[in-house]
Each structure stands twice: as structure tokens, then as C-alpha cells.
Amino acid sequence: MAHIFEAAGMATIVLGSIRKQIESTAPPRGLMCDFPLGRPLGKPNDPAFQHRVLDQAFKLLAATEQVLEEFPEAIEDEGSEMLACPLPPRSNADLHPALDEVRGLRPAYDRALEQYGNRAATGRVISADQIEEAMSAFIRVTDGVPWKEAGIPGIPSRVAQDIRGFYELAALGLSDHVPAAWSGTRWYFNSTEGGKLVLAARAAMRDAGESQPIWFYMAPGDQ
């Protein structure tokens, strides 16, 4: 993209977080920022840090030939930090644990929605009000119903993104700080009934021999 925009007469600065990728794409001006994926400016709600990134990036405009520099501060993710987030106690033993959990998390979701807005939560295909319906469909998949007959209200991966978004926004509503990168995602998949349900449905679709793109993108690729 940078090459295209440069060819049109604009100077570009590429921020990149995957070293081999920014090296192989060789942008005219690149700033390698060793930050977690999804956070190209490094730290949310840290204007001073974000300004340091931008200041370093703008310095590259002085270059007279192709340049690749590295931002001096790295943000490491070792895969071990997990959000410590309280989950609601069971309130209805007759409900599937995941459905009971979603109802318990709804106030936190609504609180965070009010505070942060809906930037990456729900609404791709389902609203927050439809999360239970979607999870009920995934429960049927884990019970052996073929995914096309289970009533999933959209493409499974997209529905799964809305469920993950619901949980991660609820996590913001339950936390007094912005979680470290990936720690909310790890909390969702490892600690919550909803995350475990989506992983179980994904595994059931895989084991049933369904096409890989249908189930694979329901969770990050290393899951």
C-alpha cells in the first residue's frame, strides 16, 4: 500500500509489528514497532506513549532514501498474562452454564458500552440481545447437530467474533484498567463458559469434517 501511495505523490510512514513482514514488504519508510498485534500505537489510553511513536514515525520523513528503523520500546506478550476478571456466579441451574454466564455479564457489557461505545463488540451479524440465541445454536453443534442445521444466525466465524466481542467488552466493564494485549482474549477462551463453548463447537465442526475455513476462524489460529 505504501508503494502505491508514494507513487501517487504522498510520503508514507508504515508502522509494522511483524519484523519479517515489514522487512519483506520493504516500505519506503518503515517503523518497526515490537508491539502486540492489534495495537500499532502500542498502549491504549496512554497519549504520551502514542506521541512517542508518532514523533519517531514523523522523523522518518527526513529520510532521503528508503529507511527502516525500530521503535526503541518493545511491548512483550509472553502468552502467560491472563485477565483476572470475576465471573458471575450461577443463578439459574436449569440453564446451560454459558447462557447463565451471558445473562450475568450483561450489566457489565452495558456499562462498558456506555463508557467506551461499540468499536469492536457486537453487531457484525448479531446484537447483544442475540448472543444467547447464537450460543444456543453452538450448543446444538456440540450436541452433534450439523452446523447448517443448528440455527447459527450467520457465518460461524462472524457470529463467534460477536460473542468474543461481547465478552471482551464485558471484561472492560468488570476491570478497572485496560487489560494487557491478548489477556482478555485468553480470559475469554480459557476461563469463560462462552469461550469454551465456542472452542467446543469449533472442534465439533472440525471433527465432523466440515470445510476448514468455516470453523477455523472462529478463534485465533493458534487455538
Binding site: M1, A2, I4, F5, A7, A8, G9, M10, A11, T12, I13, V14, L15, G16, S17, R19, K20, S24, A26, P28, P36, L37, G38, R39, P40, G42, P44, P47, Q50, H51, L54, A57, F58, L61, T64, Q66, D77, G79, Y116, N118, R119, A120, R124, I155, S157, Q161, G165, E168, L172, P179, A181, W182, T185, R186, Y217, M218, P220, G221, D222, Q223
Partner: protein, 148 residues
């Protein structure tokens, strides 16, 4: 699940090989107009969401803040953007630099593409040049490209 595991899945993707590297010289930053182009699949709520293999772009209005992420890839952290849009599209920071006089002007519009594309030819030949033309016609001198 660790960030490096995810990065290692994509770091070997083949990159286009270019014969020449285009290189433009910008005006002084204090007199330049700056825009952001992101591959984070951002869009306004009233715009079409991105399709799975959407090679097009959305025009983001700089005076709005209702950006939503329509990316199809699950392979990045989204809580950072959910809590602070500047983690991906740093318009508040750029506004501050304009007020300080370090940046001349912030573009009225910014662009968003979907970075999870495997067939890049349509972006290279069509939507990429179309987006560049649009920004150039808006008087943009400097583009910051942000991924997710």
C-alpha cells in the same frame, strides 16, 4: 495463545517484489496535510461492513469518532482498540500535534482497507490507486499506515 505464536503464522507470507521503490518528498511537516490509512477494516456504523474478501476501502470522516472494526481475522487483540481508538487510528494525537503546530493540517478524510487479503492484485491495480487518488485530491501530503 501468545502474540509471537500468531505473528509466526503470518510472518512468512510472500510479499510482492517491486522493481523500483517509489519515494516522495513531503513538504515540511508543519505545513503538511496528514491522513491515516489503516488495514484494520474500520468503518462507520452507517457504512457497509467488510465482506470476507473485500478488496475495497471505506472513507472515514475525520470529524467523527464512531469507527467500528469489521475485520474478519480473529488473530489480533481487539480490547486495545475497543477502549481507545487511538491505539489503531491516532486522530486525537494528530489533532493535538496540529494544535501544537507540529503538523500543518489533518485530512478531513482517512481510509480503511481490510488487511486480511490473499489476492492483492485488485488492491494493487484498483482500490489502492483509487484511494491514493482520493487522498491526493484532498491535498494529503503524508500518509501514516497502521495495521492491526
Amino acid at each position: 495463545m501468545a502474540d509471537n505464536d500468531i505473528k509466526s503464522m503470518t510472518e512468512g507470507m510472500e510479499a510482492p517484489v517491486l522493481d523500483t521503490v517509489a519515494f516522495s518528498s513531503p513538504p515540511e511537516l508543519g505545513k503538511a496535510t496528514v491522513a491515516v490509512v489503516t488495514s484494520a477494516s474500520l468503518h462507520h456504523p452507517d457504512q457497509d461492513d467488510f465482506a470476507p474478501q473485500d478488496v475495497g476501502f471505506r472513507v472515514l470522516e475525520g470529524n467523527r469518532r464512531d469507527y467500528q472494526m469489521g475485520h474478519w481475522s480473529p488473530n489480533f487483540d481487539t480490547i486495545g482498540f475497543a477502549s481507545d481508538m487511538n491505539t489503531v487510528i491516532p486522530l486525537d494525537r494528530l489533532d493535538e500535534l496540529v494544535l501544537e503546530g507540529k503538523v500543518g493540517k489533518l485530512s478531513d478524510v482517512h481510509l480503511s482497507y481490510a488487511g486480511n487479503q490473499f489476492d492483492l492484485s485488485a488492491v494493487q491495480m484498483d482500490s489502492g490507486p483509487a484511494g491514493a487518488k482520493l487522498l491526493r485530491e484532498k491535498g494529503v501530503d503524508v500518509v501514516i499506515l497502521t495495521p492491526v
